[in-house]
Symmetry: C2
DNA sequence: CTTGCATATGTAAACGTTTACATAAATTGT
DNA sequence: ACAATTTATGTAAACGTTTACATATGCAAG
């Protein structure tokens, strides 16, 4: 592979000049520029961005750490991050934690060794040591799907408590009193925990007694949703509605309910969370809390680059989520 | 940030020794090793993998280029790639082309400048100039979701023709004679084209006349599927079954049909392609051609690393796909 | 104790850029 | 045509590792 030096020799100029035609062509006279570009063609010169990163100490690369790319909501925000990064000529290294903290830790370390300029993290434990170290060492990063409203880490997220409250409120208003919740494991995601808080507060506010049997914690999967709901429906006093802390769980719940012979939504109302694209394409269409995943990713990337380039102060952005009422929820029977 | 040199000074050894305790600790005596690790702690030494990559000329990074991470089937193979890479201590830079050839080209270039060790590409145009250049310059890469059975590029894929044939055959065997196809645009994906070939050959083999009005080409999306099928169903002689060239299209078709008041599957049988996770969670459950996306990704990554490390000859791997019969297909009415 | 050998450590160049600074060349005004 | 100024180009060091090679150290056998 040929280097800048080869090009320089061939063109009869110095390496500095070649570097200049690459990075600021307007500063080199037309004639020389032509000589140089011609020389580059001739020796099929390929720029080495790694070498550049090495000297300038910026790699023009950021790391994106998410639980799993297989959840459409994370895929969506990943697109947002990538699109913004692409526009800014930045590359994105993607890593999945599968909700495992050690994996998150090792990813952070590896990516930092790779000299990424910053990190966007959907953390499994935003209050934990990993994030704290990052903050202490003043490494640029932003939290995505964050639950924090303030602090010394930049973050973008939605109000999960509010989301949970709204979802539950919708069910209560429809007349439901036995409302179950199928949540992602709290130990794995504080988002789920906040959503549950909203749920709990809402039923309390409406004078409905809390029944801990109506809370299931499971992994964020279709099967998790299905199995949890089936168990719940087997109780002597089954719920007439369930709030699921993401759409996968909700879709799974739909299936579980049907496998038990229920009609939807008459026999069971279901609310999801996220509003993944497929949510409006199933029957009944899924009532859900929409969160602006793509925008979140885009904004997160924007914030990170700001933080990298201008050393901005940490900010926490709370985006609006909204209840999308579709066909999967209806009044309580009878 | 401290460097190897700082550590070396502090420990009273040479940089070479420090480098050795990092890369091959067994070659340095216990005492020195301890001095060094202690010094590393003290100055909070952080390894610089970029600098390493610069000198060793390998970045331990590969690029993964896909049409869009928002299609679950690509998300699935991406997981496969990442899991294998992770296991091999390799990072993955992800890029979306959104089925645009120029985007593919610019991604390939940028990633090569970033000195990725190799590329995994789900190409929009595997016979085009981009791939040819890569081959000519002997750059390590493997094609994913490839349609090619042989050639001088490594590739892994399935037999899309066979998939299309099987899907159609299933419908024919059920008694359908007016079978539509909702395909992804041929100009954008030769996979879709191969699937259509299978479809065409199959109906021919069964003596069914080909009706070009029963072919829709659209973008690979839920709305694309919905709109195409609605148009088709508005014909004087509408199809009684449709084969969709991916599951998103099929799910969209389901919705479209229902919006027209049809009952599924009685009024319209639908076959998809991919078997994305949600396919078995909708009602009716989607009959589809399953392709082993995760395995494909994993295998692609494995192949690529082999190619990088051992300069292996190009190989083409054809994985098995299979027809998964579920509830979305049934006999022709009457 | 030596000698010889194996093993551990040190030396210094190399990797391909960028960039501060120095110098040379072109341009302007007189 | 010359000085003064502006603009273009060259020089060389720096970035943080690795690694071939040279040297030093430890150890075993005589």
């Amino acid at each position: 592979m040929s280097t800048i030096l080869d090009v320089a020799k061939l063109a009869g100029v110095s390496t500095a000049t070649v570097s200049r035609v690459i990075n600021s062509p307007e500063t080199v006279r037309g004639g020389t520029r032509k000589k140089v570009t011609r020389a580059m063609k001739i020796c099929n010169y390929k720029y080495n961005a790694l070498a550049r990163g090495f000297v300038t100490k910026q790699s023009d690369t950021i790391g994106l750490i998410i639980p799993t790319i297989n959840n459409p909501v994370f895929a969506e925000s990943t697109s947002g991050v990538q699109d913004y990064a692409d526009q800014q000529k930045i590359q994105v290294i993607l890593g999945n934690t599968y909700y495992r903290n050690e994996q998150e830790e090792s990813l952070v370390q590896t990516l930092r060794e790779k000299q990424v300029d910053g990190l966007i993290i959907t953390s499994t434990n935003p209050k934990g040591a990993i994030i704290k170290t990052l903050t202490d060492e003043n490494f640029p990063f932003v939290l995505l799907y964050s639950t924090v409203k303030k602090g010394d880490a930049s973050a973008v997220g939605i109000d999960n408590y509010q989301g949970g409250y709204r979802a539950t409120d919708h069910l209560v208003k429809l007349g439901h009193e036995r409302i179950g919740m199928v949540a992602g494991s709290f130990s794995i995601s504080d988002r789920s925990f906040h959503r549950w808080h909203g749920y709990r507060q809402c039923i309390k506010d409406h004078g409905i007694a809390y029944d801990k049997d109506l809370l299931a914690q499971t992994d964020y999967s279709l099967t998790g949703g299905r199995d949890s709901v089936k168990k719940m429906l087997s109780y002597k006093k089954p719920p007439t509605a369930v709030f699921c802390s993401n759409d996968f769980l909700a879709l799974g719940a739909m299936k579980g309910a049907r496998e038990l012979g229920l009609n939807l939504p008459q026999d069971l109302s279901i609310v999801g969370f996220d509003d993944i694209p497929i949510a409006s394409y199933v029957i009944p269409e899924l009532t859900t809390i929409r969160q602006p995943a793509y925008e979140m990713g885009k904004l997160g990337a924007k914030l990170l680059l700001q933080c990298i380039r201008e050393q901005t102060k940490p900010v926490q952005l709370m985006l609006e989520s909204s209840l999308i009422i579709r066909g999967s929820t209806t009044g309580v029977p009878g």
